[in-house]
Point group: C2
Chain length 336, copies 2
């Protein structure tokens, strides 16, 4: 990496992000909890199993259909905790503000954080505000970190993913990215196109109470469904086969992707999760999450396989199989 | 605040920072842990007492005598945890990178975080990297959040500050701010002027083992010693009297302040702490921390008094008493 510079795609969640993490961050901070590379780390303090996670939010524009940077900053971190099988409890909030940023906008964003935190059942207990000169940031960046208590009797981990398990997706993909893009470029889209940004902790908790043996959870955010499936395949050492026709996608979102040339499999979602479970529990998981407002459109989209380990194959609607790679480059920077 | 805009001084740690927190953040996120307004929040998860804190780092320049943004990002958060009477255990690291930022610099910063984390005995267990376009940030911003385990038998809180206790300062003030300023404006200063940036957790732990009854700890970072003393006076409802002549300050730093018109009482420190303790334990605290490399210059600088509650008086070297207010405005933005 000597002499190289940061590119936008280093923040895409795709291949370059993985390179950066594996070449710069992991060698420096080597430890067991980090090495899991899950959405959040699991740590043990005096016998209490905790989940701990962080994300910075730099979305552009700050306000978009279905949400804003504040809602995103709470939901994103809450969801990362939920994906470790934890009940989210406490958040921190770090604000970096650009000189001249309107305090009215800050108040709207904070109000939106408050509402999302209330829905998710978390408390913002500590925070920090820094201000940089005009031109040294882009309005506002927010970091949240979160602590959750791992639900007793659960063990969500790539190590528990085995061939022959079902892969469930909790709903339609691409809504968030298309809503943000529409906001950024002033596209006029039907009002039905809105970010799916939502706290999934309640739905996940309900599901884990019913089926504590769920093997793996992950939310397909940056890099989209395809990148997340690749991460799971590599970390779990299994193959993954998904059915294109089974992947839920709203027709308006599909239409926008067709026109603009985006592949929805690589678009970010902020209110969806992947659930990997033994087939004998699939129906129970589906029944449980379909009864929740955030899981109504849940479907089985594929299966884990013994081989080819570490690879994701997409059975296309026309009958072929396409190798689905991680995101390379970036379709849409600053999506969250 | 309607129609107002963010000013640099909203990030100073002084009066405007307090206004912003009390008018925008606190009403939204009202809860007991946040209301303590300590450097970190104390929370209880399944019977385990934890401390949780966050800070974003936007220091300019990124590298300065005695440290860099990476060392600062680890030490700052470790110290906030230590100030709650906790042993720091786990950190998160969130990077916001500007497109074009040299990866070699990122590697240096990460190496510096690694070294500081090793010294402080904490693990960086979770992280996030976002990239924004050239011009949308200033090189690199880092957020760290931290979790610590509150040391059994301690209860560090403004509520435990009473009139008649001693106020100890662990060493000389102003070094960090002057070192950063020298770096920013290319001032040529003696090599002895360097940031005091250091993880204080080891020293604090050693002291609390010897004197668990310490009432209050706080590190005088943004806003400097004067602002921190004001915060304590207001939160504890006591008066504070400090002796100007007792406050340690290195002659080079005093000279720079004299020439440039800075008041060292308002300059940020990154490796110093204030300790408030019953007078009968003062000598024990001093002996303990003076034996530690980061506390060699520790001294009693003043006392808490019954009145005037919420105010800080400085007994000046020439014999008068000056009311010491919080920082108003900002002497030096982006100091951490």
């Amino acid at each position: 990496m000597k002499g190289e510079r940061v590119q936008l795609a280093h923040g895409s969640g795709g291949k370059l992000s993985h390179d950066l993490v594996s070449k710069v961050m992991l060698p420096a901070f080597a430890n067991e909890a980090l090495a899991e590379l899950h959405d959040g780390a699991k740590v043990n303090i005096r016998g209490t199993r905790l989940a701990f996670t962080t994300d910075s939010y730099v979305v552009k524009p700050l306000f978009f259909a279905g949400g804003d940077i504040g809602k995103l900053a709470v939901c994103g971190t809450v969801n990362d905790l939920a994906m470790t099988g934890a009940v989210p409890l406490y958040l921190s909030a770090g604000f970096i503000l650009e000189e001249g940023f309107p305090l009215d906008d800050l108040s709207l964003i904070v109000a939106s954080m408050k509402a999302a935190a209330a829905e998710a059942g978390v408390l913002v207990v500590t925070g920090d505000t820094k201000v940089v000169e005009k031109g040294a940031a882009d309005g506002i960046f927010i970091n949240t970190a979160g602590i959750g208590a791992v639900i007793e009797g659960t063990d969500i981990s790539p190590a528990r993913v085995r061939p022959g398990q079902d892969i469930i997706l909790s709903g339609a993909i691409g809504d968030h990215a298309v809503a943000v893009m529409a906001g950024r470029y002033d596209l006029v889209l039907p009002q039905t196109v809105a970010s799916d940004c939502a706290p999934l902790a309640g739905m996940v908790r309900q599901m884990l109470a019913a089926v504590p043996s769920v093997a793996m959870l992950r939310d397909p955010t940056r890099g989209g469904l395809a990148t997340t499936l690749n991460e799971i395949a590599v970390q779990a050492g299994v193959g993954i086969r998904v059915e294109e026709a089974a992947i839920p996608i709203h027709p308006e979102v599909a239409a926008v992707c067709n026109i603009l040339g985006f592949d929805p499999l690589y678009l970010a979602n902020e209110g969806k999760c992947l659930i990997i479970v033994e087939t004998k529990h699939t129906q129970q998981v589906l029944t449980c999450i379909q009864s929740h407002p955030y899981g109504k459109e849940a479907r089985v989209i594929g299966k884990t396989t013994a081989s080819p380990a570490g690879q994701v194959g997409l059975h296309t609607a026309v009958g072929g199989v396409r190798l689905l790679d991680m995101l390379v480059g970036d379709q849409l920077p600053r999506i969250c």
